[in-house]
């Protein structure tokens, strides 16, 4: 051997790499080899070119860069011998992909090799073309491949067929040229040619509607014949897999039949019989048989099959579902997912089995089954299904609980018809997996509770019981705290008892106890603790005897390290100690939350996700300050402030109590200057409640944008806030006000902090109503009217999206005749 040529053999290099103990050693060996190969490349060494390329491929597989070998592939392909070409094409397929420019250089060599006299060289070229050809190469070489489809050698034919598949996937326009040669392939006897031919037909059907039409006409019978022949053929060892003749061919023909029969009654009619035969004849004890049955069921579901055949398919699925092999069950679930639209009634029969699969130990199966269950839920079965799922929630693995809880909540929300059932289910979910429940889910639960006056007593008592047993579930704790704060007296006096309810005796101090536990529990987060403080404040007025203890509890947090809790604690103790006269009205029960507004806003907030982001920008500062000014309960100078804010305020009520009453009670204050008042009152109420951070953000953006557009009320709000600031700092009540100014800071924290949320919530309510009044500016117009037709346009603007106007056109037929083929055309000027 020439000692100066690239030294080691392939085998030796692999061995050297394998003996390396560390990655660094391996890199050293590879670097040395690569250097030698590079040298050989630049010397244009011919003798060892193929060996060098083989080495490069191995190095490539280890993940090292090998681009310098790409040209070597081309050189090897261009050489005349078979061994060189073989390794050259292999290198081409491994080291390059269709996106590399270098690939274009090989087109000419490929063309020559496709016309070579040696069938194996033609085979190599077809294989390379089939694996990596680009759209341009496909166009250039399609005629060659088309010609080779008619070759006499089956080996070339099958490779050409697969190559054609690649070509039509890259350039669907070429489908036309391949239609008739593809159809001709189905008349062959050689299985390789049949398999690839059938696959080519399937791909043609996908690629072009004309091809589908052509093949439907010319190949339906042919495919039936192929399937008949193999399923009736005697034992052929060459193609036999566990007792079945060529399952691969079976499956491919079934796939083609699905394409041909889809949406075509005639074609479906001619394949029904053979499908029935396959479905009944194939044994299902081996994987190969099951693979065929699986494909067969899918074809039956895909075509216009007879009802008998459908039942047969559903039964096969049922057998699959109860199989003990996980693979089989997985595909059965997969199949059910797809056929649930075809025949949901039949699917319902397998509900129990599917539910079992939700509890499987295999994550792939669990995921499929859970999705399927959600598709199966309807009004009649929602109760038993939910019960099953909730029962399972108790024992499921921790990492699966998140998914499961989300799905159950969505089912319960979607299908609940009665509030009691909804509340019951949510309580169960909260007690089992309260920590996995999303914020908006428990927010809407609270909205529902607030609207169900007759169930509030029952709910608060059940929550109390649940919280005693599972206090670590965050979601549960929050809902329970809110309800205990709001409906504390119902907990104690047992009001609104339901017939089936077990009576409980809860004393006032028991109620305070449980809130105290939540406040002090180490696992509670800030929001939960803040909510406990609010609940305590509310209870202090509901249960006067416990007032002292509550004051003490609240005072304990005056020095809390969390700014949020400290603020609340200081505010609340001030309210309790210094403002007894207003406390009762201040902590009154929340007004009933409006369900429809809540749901509406929920939708808006889910649509306007980008708007949420932009809301945290500078202009919001001014608005954010606003609550500070308006909120201050002692209203001696409040009147002044309001006077300052807008000149057209008639006369602010001078008496403190009256004013507050007004603030708390009458929400329907006249629009323009009264707006700050109603906003303030909401704020006051909401401050003491929980809120929904996400909506707040979006409604905030609403308020910002409407403010920017025109609303004078909003700008006056902004000026109000700036005017209030100085008076706040000198006011004797600074201790109340100042903590609230911290809201600005908190606002930048994660959105779960309740108070700002509500401050803004109230504000947005008001601003939205301003936006609502703005709607009136766009009166409906009559766009067209004669004695037979009237067209009226009405307009809606969405707050937060001033550039969007929704126009609703109402057409009224004033004549006695009925209109048909009515066409409405509108010309709109282009605005850039």
């Amino acid at each position: 051997m020439n000692p100066f040529s690239s030294g080691t053999r392939l085998r030796d290099m692999i061995r050297a790499i394998r003996t390396c103990k560390t990655a660094a050693e391996e890199r050293a060996v590879v670097r040395k080899e690569c250097a030698a190969i590079r040298a050989a490349v630049s010397d244009n060494d011919q003798e060892y070119r193929h060996r060098n390329l083989a080495k490069l491929m191995f190095i490539h597989m280890l993940g090292y860069p090998t681009h310098f070998g790409q040209m070597e592939c081309l050189k090897l392909i261009a050489s005349s011998g078979f061994p060189e070409k073989r390794i050259g094409y292999l290198g081409l397929m491994l080291l390059l992909d269709e996106r590399q420019e270098v690939l274009m250089l090989v087109t000419n060599s490929l063309k020559q090799d496709l016309n070579h006299s040696n069938q194996y060289i033609v085979g190599l070229a077809l294989c390379a073309l089939g694996n990596i050809c680009s759209a341009e190469m496909a166009r250039d070489l399609a005629p060659e491949v088309e010609r080779l489809l008619q070759s006499r050698d089956p080996n070339i034919k099958k490779k050409a067929a697969l190559c054609s598949i690649r070509i039509i996937r890259k350039v669907p326009d070429l489908s036309e040229n391949f239609m008739s040669p593809a159809a001709a392939l189905l008349k062959e006897k050689h299985h390789g040619v049949l398999i690839t031919g059938v696959q080519l037909c399937t791909d043609l059907c996908k690629a072009s509607p004309e091809a589908l039409e052509y093949l439907r006409k010319n190949c339906t019978e042919g495919s039936v014949r192929i399937l008949k022949d193999i399923s009736n053929s005697s034992y052929a060892p060459e193609y036999d897999i566990s007792g079945i003749a060529d399952p691969f061919l079976h499956i491919r023909v079934l796939k083609l039949m699905r394409m041909l029969g889809q949406g075509d009654a005639d074609a479906s009619d001619s394949i029904n019989d053979i499908l029935a035969q396959v479905a009944t004849k194939i044994e299902s004890n081996k994987n190969a048989g099951n693979a065929i049955l699986y494909e067969c069921v899918e074809t039956i579901m895909g075509i216009e099959a007879t009802s008998g055949l459908r039942i047969l398919a559903i039964n096969i699925l049922g057998r699959f579902l109860s199989n003990r092999d996980n693979n089989i069950r997985y595909v059965a679930l997969n199949m059910l997912m797809r056929s649930v639209v075809v025949d949901s009634q039949a699917m319902q029969r397998h509900r129990a089995t599917i539910l079992e699969c939700v509890k499987d130990s295999d994550a792939s199966i669990r995921k499929r089954a859970l999705e399927l269950v959600c598709l199966l839920v309807n009004d009649t079965n929602v109760k038993p299904l939910t019960k099953e799922l909730i029962d399972y929630l108790e024992v499921s693995e921790e990492e699966f609980k998140g998914d499961l809880t989300e799905k159950i909540c969505s089912i319960v929300e979607r299908f609940s018809t009665e509030k009691l059932w909804y509340i019951d289910q949510m309580l169960k979910i909260l007690s089992e997996a309260g920590s996995h429940v999303k914020d908006e889910v428990w927010h809407s639960l609270i909205v529902v509770i607030s609207n169900a006056a007759d169930l509030q007593g029952y709910t608060v008592r059940s929550l109390y019981k649940a919280l005693q047993t599972s206090s670590s579930q965050i979601g549960l704790a929050r809902v329970a705290l809110w309800c205990i704060g709001e409906y504390g007296e119902m907990l104690v006096n047992g009001a609104c008892m339901l017939a089936a309810e077990e009576p409980v005796t809860v004393t006032e101090s028991d109620a305070v106890d449980i809130v105290e536990v939540a406040l002090k529990c180490h696992s509670s987060d800030i929001t939960t603790r803040a909510m406990s403080l609010i609940a305590l404040l509310k209870l202090s007025s509901r249960f006067p005897p416990t007032s002292e203890r509550i004051t003490e509890l609240i005072m304990q947090n005056k020095g809390n390290l969390e700014l949020e809790l400290q603020q609340r604690s200081i505010e609340f103790s001030n309210i309790i100690l210094k403002h007894k006269n207003i406390k009762t009205s201040l902590v009154e029960r929340m007004p009933v939350l409006d369900e429809s507004t809540y749901m509406g806003r929920k939708e808006v907030s889910s649509q306007d996700v980008p708007a949420v982001k932009t809301s945290k920008t500078a202009p919001s500062e001014a608005l954010l300050n606003l609550p500070n000014g308006v909120k201050k309960p002692p209203a001696v100078y409040m009147g002044d402030l309001l006077d300052l804010s807008s000149d057209d305020v008639p006369a602010t009520k001078p008496s403190t109590n009256d004013f507050l009453q007004d603030l708390l009670g009458d929400l329907a204050v006249p629009v323009s200057s009264g707006a700050p008042l109603s906003g303030g009152s909401d704020i006051l109420m909401d401050l003491l409640s929980i809120g929904s951070p996400i909506q707040n953000d979006s409604s905030l953006s609403n308020s910002v944008s409407t403010g920017a557009v025109n609303s004078s009320a909003v700008s006056s709000l902004a000026s109000l806030s700036s005017l209030t600031s100085p008076s706040i700092s000198v006011s004797p009540e600074a201790s109340i006000v100042d903590p609230l100014r911290g809201m600005d800071q908190i606002k930048r924290q994660p959105p779960s902090t309740a108070p700002i949320v509500d401050l803004m919530d109230g504000l947005s309510n008001h601003v939205v109503s301003v936006a609502g009044s703005e709607k009136l500016d766009f009166l409906p117009i009559t766009a067209f009217e004669n004695n037979s037709l009237k067209t009226v346009f009405s307009f809606t603007k969405f707050p937060g999206r001033p550039q969007v106007t929704q126009i609703k056109a109402t057409f009224t037929n004033k004549s006695l005749n009925s209109y048909t083929d009515f066409i409405f055309q509108a010309a709109v000027p282009k605005v850039h």
Binding site: I14, P83, I195, Y239, F248, E295, S364
Partner: protein
Amino acid sequence: MIQFVLLISRQGKVRLTKWYSPYSQKERSKVIRELSGVILTRGPKLCNFVEWRGFKVVYRRYASLYFCMCIDGDDNELEVLEIIHHFVEILDRYFGSVCELDLIFNFHKAYYILDEVIIAGELQESSKKAVARTIAAQDSLVDTAKEQANSLSNMIVQATK
């Protein structure tokens, strides 16, 4: 359609990769890392399918090697298991009870065989014998070419003596 074929050892070493859809070098190593993390950690009795980026990866373990094929969402998973087995049986016959070392030192041969089984992400031949025949024929072509080259160089050596 099969998107790609991967052979990974239990230690996570790549033994063979074949890509039927374009993936850049960077994506390739990312895919391999991601999938070996998922597949190698799955328990023995679980199903052989993993859902991944909208595709499905069908895998099957033979001794220390995992054979993985990534397929489209609507392909037949059970059939792909058979294709994997089909490929393994052909390898087995060719090498005579194949082991991981065969595939390391003769990786190019494994690729040649794969090219006779799958082209363009579709199955090419359902007969193991037919594959064995074409591979054997091509191997013998290579051998004759080598012999000729050897005898030629011998002749040159003798002539120049």
